[in-house]
Symmetry: C2
Subunit: 249 residues, 2 copies
DNA sequence: AAGCTTCATTTGCATATGCAAATAAAAAAG
DNA sequence: CTTTTTTATTTGCATATGCAAATGAAGCTT
């Protein structure tokens, strides 16, 4: 446990002590200050640093563990957990994974890439100033060689500058972003639309046939990361989720 | 606090004590033994009945409160909470509410009702024996007089026998079921399909135009309650959800 | 009757203490 | 050098204790 780690934990004095501790650590994790794998100070250390009893520290950490933010093991200590890869209903965050779970071979092809100022309608998707620089990508994903989904994506360069040096030759942008950025907020919208002629041609379906449109935007603390539009040929796809009245099962 | 209430709480001896208590109470709530509004015995009473310390009982109850299953107030005590009405992304459980939230006037019309043995394809939707009796309903929901969604629903009579005496003249079946049954499991599937000619006519759209199809099935402890197929005209509807990497926001 | 005060109940929070379980690392044994 | 044993660290669980905060109910005042 390095001193830098524990010194980052500071309380704000608002509300119950155990909750201040919980929030302090949660925020360090969500802000990326403590990336996944970072070891969290042991209860004793936090206890001394914060002047709280062990039970109180324990209560905060136990709750974070229940929420899945940290992993705790006796003797080895506590580490920051990796965010769960997939997430119920609509969290097909990784298309390669989605395809491989269907037992099909995955491949993809980049159709177009442009870097520069965001055109008006693209900027609107993000509620972003038009002066912002973005990378605009169009690509097609295949399952067993057949078109699976058409992706149209905009990435906010200011949030992830290293994107300009990435060719996406090895990893499609969705997965690359999952590895190279941290997101704290996402929004999904799902709707049904008819395929435009150019889209239909790429997906090898009839123009006008029904497609499922998933639009997703992600942010890190109110700073936009990416907006993506995924067009799935209608009949071949369904999104399924299970849950109970009190939450996902 | 009546004796009947507290006597229902029994432990199974498996795992930590606080968790046995938590599960015991949770199960009473989920099974419907303690319906919403029932008052939960105070910590002192549980403490005596179960032979645990107050802190341990408190830990179990505090966790249930965080999960939203119970409501706690100082002095007035603890009561079983009502299940949350709507639920993130796809939990448009009540169509009247959905329409009214859009600021439109809601109405509906029953197109057809048949009671009897489930036809083969209907039974399949439920993974149900063909001998099971079901009520089969078709209805159309309107928003400001315009067709909003087409509903096709099957209800398992054995689970809710009182359905045979219900005309659904006042309340559409979805809402009636919410009030008259308890569900512990639901499954959603969402897909895009082209409207069949008869469906298109009812919804006043072009045959073949894209529609969003939501299929939902609900159970109470593995006993089927209902299966429903909701067909929304494509362009006019989208389902939106927000969440963070660790769960819904 | 309406408002105020007091009282009693119930939950919420924090501490101190002790022991148990898991297990990484060190020590001992072969 | 490898295997076994011991030790020490860290988390997990439960208890006992004390006080604080909220608030329903009862009693009191005017």
């Amino acid at each position: 446990m390095s001193a830098t780690q524990i010194d980052a934990v500071t309380l704000d004095g608002a509300g119950p002590l155990y909750d201040q501790i919980r929030r302090a650590i949660r925020d360090l994790i969500l802000a990326g200050t403590w990336p996944p794998g970072t070891s969290v100070p042991p209860e004793h250390a936090l206890m001394e640093k914060l002047g709280a009893s062990r039970m109180t520290v324990h209560r905060a950490l136990a709750q974070l563990a229940r929420e899945g933010l940290i992993l705790r093991r006796r003797r080895s200590g506590t580490v920051v957990a990796s965010p769960p890869a997939s997430h119920a209903m609509l969290d097909i965050l990784s298309i390669p994974e989605e395809v491989e779970e269907l037992g099909q071979a995955y491949s993809y092809r980049i159709l177009q890439r442009r870097d520069g100022k965001a055109p008006r309608e693209v900027a609107a998707r993000f509620e972003l100033g038009r002066s912002a620089n973005v990378t605009h990508l169009t690509l097609l994903h295949f399952a067993d060689g057949a078109p699976h989904v058409l992706e149209d994506r905009v990435i906010h360069i200011a949030t992830i500058p290293q994107i300009v040096d990435e060719s996406f030759a090895q990893t499609p942008p969705g997965d690359w972003l999952l590895q190279n950025s941290l997101w704290t907020q996402a929004e999904h919208a799902i709707s049904a639309i008819a395929a435009e002629p150019d889209e239909a041609e790429l997906l090898k379906i009839e123009a006008g046939s029904p497609c499922l449109l998933v639009e997703r935007r992600t942010w890190n603390q109110s700073e936009p990361i990416t907006a993506v539009r995924l067009l799935y040929p209608g009949g071949r796809h369904r999104f399924v989720g299970r849950f109970g009245p009190y939450g996902a099962v």
